[in-house]
């Protein structure tokens, strides 16, 4: 769509200069990546859009599926999306059908196209109509819709690679240190930021300002870690790590809980008390039964010796029996 191209080009240029200035002022606490992304941006500024990569994706819709077919597209750099859908395996296909594109559920104006049936299938692709992805506003759900009764739809979910934080809370103790790790999914982000939310306000964690408390590190670009020393109760809460790409950022969430040392102490003491009680009970019972035994033993002393000698004579009898048998 020609009208939309020029604004997006301008937006791309603005974004490039903005991000370039970000890198040079060193606002991000992560490792400053190499110069190449900045250079690439500047090159793109000067040349036409056709240098941008084209990402081609196709979905084949075979009959009515429930739910509709979805395809995830994870993009890291600016690109032009060349999306297409192929509709087959429907009974009573008419000779031609109208198709249009939707972004985030809303029809993109002017995207209506008439598609002819070819080889029992409808291939919806318009080389003049492609989607440039240059910033985060271009990310979202792109759906191709075939105007039939009922409609046939396929969806492309265009996002930046998601970042993995931690689902379960991270537990640590007062005075201890903790290491939080975020992993980027598949691609190398340009940088990382760590922040906490105060209402809707972002408090960015700056390791250089506070080196005794915070240390950040990035391992091979894909894993970012934040080490917090000297934990206090105030550090409890939700931390966000943000992986920054050319066209947007994705967040990972980590929930930190800081406990005091008395918390595990209570179950420990409970178990220790239980052990002590059980051990004392067992030993007391044993002492009790032993006492009873010695009392009865003393009474039955003579019987005891008789029993022993009878045991012996048993053996002797058996021995003699064997002897006799032989």
């Amino acid at each position: 769509m020609l009208p939309t191209r020029i604004p997006s080009f301008v937006i791309a240029a603005l974004l490039a200069t903005l991000s370039a200035s970000h890198f040079t002022t060193g606002k991000f606490s992560g490792n400053i990546p190499t110069d190449s992304p900045i250079e690439n941006e500047e090159i793109r500024n000067n040349t036409s859009e056709s240098i941008m990569n084209t990402t081609i994706k196709n979905i084949i819709i075979k009959g009515y599926t429930n739910p509709w077919i979805k395809e995830n597209l994870e993009l890291t750099h600016q690109t032009i999306l060349d999306l297409s859908c192929t509709l087959t395996s429907l009974p009573d296909l008419p000779a031609s059908v109208t198709g249009y594109w939707k972004k985030d559920g809303k029809e993109i104006p002017g995207s209506q196209t008439v598609i002819e049936k070819k080889d029992e299938r409808f291939h919806f692709q318009n080389k003049q109509f492609r989607f440039p992805i240059t910033d985060s506003s271009h990310l979202g759900n792109y759906s191709c819709v075939f105007d039939l009764r009922p409609e046939a739809e396929a969806r492309f979910i265009v996002t930046v690679p998601h970042t993995e934080g931690r689902e379960k809370p991270l537990i640590s103790y007062e005075g201890d240190a903790i290491v939080m790790v975020c992993k980027a999914h598949s691609h190398l982000p340009n940088g990382w930021t760590w922040y906490r939310l105060n209402g809707t306000e972002r408090n960015i964690i700056n390791a250089t300002l506070n080196p005794e408390k915070f240390t950040t590190a990035v391992e091979k670009g894909k894993k970012a870690s934040l080490k917090i020393m000297g934990l206090t109760q105030e550090d409890s809460g939700i931390f966000w790590c943000s992986a920054i790409y050319d066209i947007g950022s994705s967040e990972g969430r980590i929930h930190l809980k800081v406990l005091s040392y008395t918390v595990p102490l209570k179950p420990f003491l409970a178990i220790a008390v239980e052990v002590l009680i059980l051990v004392s009970l067992i030993l007391i019972y044993e002492h009790h039964t032993k006492k009873k035994q010695t009392i009865t033993e003393n009474g039955k002393d003579s019987e005891h010796t008789e029993k022993l000698t009878s045991d012996g004579s048993n053996g002797l009898r058996d021995g003699t029996a064997r002897h006799r048998n032989v």
Partner: protein
């Protein structure tokens, strides 16, 4: 039911009564010993991130703990020989608790190695050996059953410790969990309290047979002779001349003369061979399932199936081994179960798909349980309950090597061939070989024992003709128990 045999213990074990609480205590002790190092692996990922170390470095914690538990066997045996089971288990429980509490404050991975690995491992060793020993003291007729029940502690504890550990970790983090696990390990002291000392007390010792039985507790005199360490020269029955001095001194603590015991040597060689292929298949079951395309949860479920079948197989095997058809020839039953294990592994690569692997897990669980239930029962059967504590110490320290080397060698095989089936073939072949070796050698051993028994009986009859002696119940059913002790009992009577 076979007639009550002599045990060289100097008394008839109760085979019940307080024996059952003792079995329960042994159940707990053995459960902690075997399941704890494996259940610790749940914390490894978190600790790995915390200390910024690689996975293999953190896996060393478990390996060191297991290695120390096995290597600490002789130390444990010496202490049990000297002080009896109860003090050793209680101190083992306290050691483990202290180790875990200290580890919860650890600031480096080396501290974890020392606290959890070495001290914790020693504590577990102090739990394992005495539990096995005391079963032999309390049971004779029903001993295989008691052994099977006690060994069932391992899968039961593994099944319970794993979710408990996960729960503790989610609630308290790894430090808090280690702290609370220290408390849980104190329960080993409860098991220790149940291990009431049994044996000939000084009173009954004086009354019995006018023979100098020796120390007040029989478990004290467990060195080389059943009853009289001071009386006759311990080696007179076996070798005519033995250089006195260091060997005899060592023998007072731990019975190294076992290395001349034929049955013991057969057991040792067969078991060392077996352990090379014993643990690797379990370690690699889940990765193999994932390799075949099965999802993670179903793969983990295979291990649960294995554990559940194992739980049932151990007491079941104990019951079967107790029957009068199997008990006299229990060594054959053990060799059969080892060989059966081998056959299972050899057939494993034929299993295709999830259902095939489930069947393999069921059969393997059965085989694994059978071997584990009989593992120590056969040793008791061979060397007798008196020398068992020294025997188990020596066996575990020697088995330490194949137990630790087995999984890494299996892993190397998998890496080398890029496929799991060769590892299964090798493990299966090794175990089948071990089973056949044990079978043949035990056949030979049984034959020799029968011969020796006949010679002994002939000798006894000759002696009885000369002298009137009180022989306490010389009926024998489990001939293998008496083995090389026969000439020495005759020696005693003379």
């Amino acid at each position: 039911m076979p007639p009550p045999p002599t045990t060289n213990l100097g008394y008839i074990p109760p085979d019940g009564g307080w024996g059952w609480p003792v079995v329960f205590g042994a159940f707990m002790s053995i459960g902690f010993s075997y399941a704890f190092p494996k259940a610790l692996t749940i914390y490894f990922k978190e600790i790995q991130e915390f200390f910024s170390v690689s996975y293999s470095e953190i896996a060393w914690v478990s390996s060191i703990m297991l290695a120390t538990m096995y290597a600490g066997g002789p130390v444990s045996s010496i202490l049990v020989n000297k002080y009896g089971s109860r003090p050793v288990v209680i101190s083992g429980g306290v050691m483990c608790a202290v180790a875990m509490v200290a580890a919860s404050f650890g600031t480096s991975i080396i501290q974890l190695y020392i606290c959890v690995g070495i001290i914790g491992g020693m504590g577990l060793a102090f739990n394992l050996q005495p539990s096995l020993t005391i079963i032999g003291k309390y049971f004779l007729k029903k001993r295989p059953m008691a052994n099977g029940l006690a060994m069932a502690g391992s899968p039961v504890f593994l099944c319970t410790l794993a979710p408990v550990n996960q729960l503790l970790f989610d609630t308290f983090g790894w430090r808090g969990s280690f702290f609370i696990l220290g408390g849980l390990l104190l329960n080993c002291c409860v098991a220790g309290a149940l291990f009431r000392p049994i044996g000939i007390t000084s009173k009954s010792a004086q009354k019995q047979d006018k023979k100098p039985i020796g120390e007040e507790k029989v478990n004290n005199g467990a060195s080389s002779e059943p009853s009289s360490p001071q009386a006759a020269n311990p080696f007179s029955g076996r070798e005519p001349a033995k250089p006195a001095g260091c060997c005899q001194k060592v023998n007072k603590f731990i019975d190294i003369s076992l290395f001349k015991h034929r049955g013991f040597l057969i057991y040792l060689i067969g078991n060392v061979l077996m352990f090379f292929g014993f643990f690797a298949p379990i370690v690699f079951l889940a990765p193999y399932a994932k390799h075949l395309g099965i999802d993670e949860y179903s793969a983990a479920f295979l291990l649960s199936i294995l554990a559940i079948v194992d739980m049932i197989a151990r007491p079941g095997t104990g019951m079967v081994a107790n029957t009068r058809w199997i008990r006299p020839k229990i060594q054959y039953f053990f060799s059969f179960s080892v060989a059966y294990n081998g056959v299972c592994h050899l057939l494993c690569p034929l299993a295709s798909g999830y259902l095939g692997l489930v069947m393999y897990a069921v059969f393997f669980g059965l085989a694994f349980g059978m071997v584990c239930a009989l593992l120590f029962e056969t040793l008791m059967d061979l060397v007798g309950a008196q020398r068992f504590s020294s025997a188990v110490g020596l066996v575990t320290i020697i088995e330490c090597c194949p137990v630790l080397l087995g999984p890494p060698i299996g892993g190397a095989l998998v890496d080398a061939f890029g496929d799991y089936k060769y590892m299964y073939y090798v493990c299966g072949a090794v175990m089948l070989l071990a089973g056949i070796f044990l079978f043949i050698m035990n056949y030979y051993n049984y034959r020799l024992l029968e011969k020796e028994e006949k010679e002994r009986e002939k000798k006894e009859e000759d002696e009885e003709e000369k002298v009137e002696l009180e022989i306490p119940g010389s009926e024998v059913c489990c001939e293998s128990e008496e083995t090389n002790e026969k000439p020495t009992t005759a020696e005693q009577e003379a």
